[in-house]
């Protein structure tokens, strides 16, 4: 096991670029004076890297906001569209994530998993009667829950590859393999970064605890369940083959088994096709 140097990790992520499609779209939209605000928000909120980088800036102590900003839409309301556009452009200027990293981690499948988890998390929140003003938080938490993995693929590809392989061969949890090879799992790394960036505590918890359900936080629980649904329906793939709800087990809050919950949500194929249409457009 080689332990990851936290300071090095933080410095590395500062310079880490975003996904190619969103970078390309940001450049395109910021060159068009008539580009619509909602289109820009949509592009940013389809990229976990760009989203966390913007949340990091707006949540810095320098803007002394009374409440942490947890979605790009809120960020636009507080700091203005042009600033958000320029922030996105400054992330775009860092280049693009290499789709073929040395860890062999499929970034397209990862993105599809992140986007579908985000949408399903929002759907679950709506189902549980969450106020409209909070639903975008559930989307963002789902979008960035696995952020630590894309960081590992870039920062420590050799060991992350070993972890991915071990998890695939043994059909076992990726988290324990990560701990074995890197001394830290992606949820802990995500927490470390999110804390450093002073993100909202609920978001930090949702990143850190997305492998268990405990009825403590609605946000955390929705992300956990959305993650399982996305995995069960094989919407993309983010390296972890294990579904953390046993068949037939009743899921707290929903009081349904995973299969019954999925059935109760109706046709989710459009969640996948919408995400794919963004990734491939």
């Amino acid at each position: 096991m080689t332990a990851i140097d936290n300071e090095e990790l933080i410095a590395f992520v500062e310079k880490m670029p975003a996904f190619p499609k969103s970078v390309q779209k940001v450049v395109q939209l910021t060159s068009d004076v008539n580009a619509s605000a909602k289109e820009i928000v949509r592009v940013i909120e389809s990229d976990p890297v760009m989203t966390v980088k913007i949340l990091k800036v707006i949540n810095s102590a320098f803007y002394g906001l009374p409440k942490k900003i947890t979605s790009i839409q809120r960020a636009v309301v507080h700091i203005g569209l042009n600033t958000i556009k320029n922030l996105a452009l400054s992330v775009a200027a860092m280049g693009v994530l290499n789709p073929t990293n040395k860890a062999g981690f499929n970034t397209q499948d990862f993105l599809l998993h992140s986007l579908t988890t985000a949408s399903i998390s929002r759907i679950l929140a709506e189902k549980l009667g969450v106020k409209a003003s909070e639903c975008s938080d559930f989307f963002v938490a789902g979008l960035i829950h696995d952020f630590g993995k894309i960081v590992f693929a870039e920062f420590d590809p050799v060991n992350f590859k070993l972890a991915l392989e071990k998890s695939a061969i043994g059909n076992s949890s990726l988290d324990s393999a990560e701990i074995e090879f890197m001394g830290i799992n992606h949820a802990q790394a995500g927490r470390l970064l999110a804390e450093k960036w002073e993100l909202d505590i609920q978001l930090i918890d949702a990143i850190d605890h997305h492998h268990s359900i405990n009825n403590e936080s609605l946000l955390k629980d929705c992300v956990f369940v959305a993650n399982q649904i996305s995995k069960k329906l094989q919407f993309g793939f983010a390296g972890n083959p294990i579904i953390e709800i046993t068949p037939g087990e009743l899921i707290p809050r929903f009081e349904l088994s995973l299969d019954d919950l999925i059935t109760s949500l109706g046709d989710l194929s459009n969640v996948r096709s919408e995400a794919l249409s963004f990734i491939n457009s």
């Binding site: 619509s36 002394g64 906001l65 309301v77 600033t83 320029n86 922030l87 400054s90 003003s133 909070e134």
Partner: protein, 293 residues
């Protein structure tokens, strides 16, 4: 407190016979406390004649609060004569730029470069101090308390509230009331609107009961239709805010640069006719106008 407008024009200075009455200089407001502290809101071209006046009372300590760093709010800084004279203390306050991460020193630093100006920053003889400030955190200058709040404009923009001597002033800098980026039939509309409502409540609280509310009122409602998203407010949006905040006096400022004195007065009369019996006085900000609160 008393205040004087030294620049009321938006975007670009507009000298000439058609603007001689209300003035062609860009934004600059001087606030003087009862104890004589000098607080300056923005450093558009209007700060140049203000600097000339201050030369008669050297040495001076001037506290300059920058709402945002668009040219029309900082362009006068290198021409503020007190910065060249030893013994003066010039303190410049403003926010951190979220994109470049630079503090308010950028307001002057960006202009005092060889290509743009003959004097370098290192050659200024006054003591110049920069204070990068945060929204919601008040600064005390003598008896005055100055509190910044984040307001929507294309760049980071602070509105400032000044409380002093039992009175209060709020200046928006450039400000366009936030609008919903979604259509009412879209899923995101309601959620986005709830963010706007929360933010607006915060803004109204910051302006509450002020004696003088000075608002960016660049456009008529008709003009706004094609200028939505440009970062400026309308006469109507200013009146609405003044009503909600229960302000005592409302000043329209940041006059649109192509607007003549005559056109300004026509619009002003129309606004008075359309808004009779407001509980606050409505005033067109005018260069050289002194107001004792």
């Amino acid at each position: 407190m008393k205040l004087r407008f030294w620049g009321v024009r938006g975007s670009i200075a507009t000298p000439g016979p058609t603007t001689v009455k209300y003035g062609g200089n860009t934004t600059c407001i001087e606030v003087t406390t009862d104890n004589g502290e000098i607080i300056i809101l923005d450093a558009g071209t209007g700060i140049n004649p203000l600097g000339q006046k201050l030369l008669k009372q050297l040495p001076v300590t001037a506290h300059i609060f920058i709402t945002h760093t668009h040219w029309d709010h900082i362009q006068g800084l290198p021409f503020f004569s007190p910065i060249f004279i030893p013994g003066n203390e010039i303190k410049i306050y403003g926010g951190l730029d979220p994109v470049t991460n630079e503090g308010i020193e950028r307001a002057l630093g960006v202009q005092l470069q060889y290509s743009y100006f003959p004097i370098r920053e290192a050659e200024l003889n006054a003591s110049v101090e920069y204070n990068t400030i945060k929204p919601g955190e008040s600064i005390s200058i003598g008896e005055a308390k100055i509190t910044p709040i984040l307001l929507s404009h294309p760049v980071l923009n602070f509105g400032y509230r000044i409380d002093c001597d039992g009175q209060s002033i709020f200046f928006t800098g450039d400000y366009e009331p936030i609008f919903n980026i979604y259509e009412p039939d879209e899923n995101e509309y309601e959620e986005y609107q709830s963010f706007i409502d929360q933010k607006n409540q915060q803004i109204i609280t910051a302006m509450q009961d002020v004696n003088a509310l000075i608002i960016d009122s660049s456009y008529t409602s008709e003009e706004y239709i094609i200028k939505k998203g440009w970062g400026h407010g309308t006469y109507n949006s200013a009146i609405k805010l003044a009503k909600q905040a229960k302000a005592k006096k409302l000043f329209f400022t940041h006059h649109e640069p192509t607007r003549t004195d005559e056109q300004l007065e026509v619009i002003y009369k129309q606004q008075l006719n359309e808004n009779p019996n407001t509980e606050f006085e409505i005033i067109l900000a005018k260069e050289g106008h002194d107001i004792l609160l």
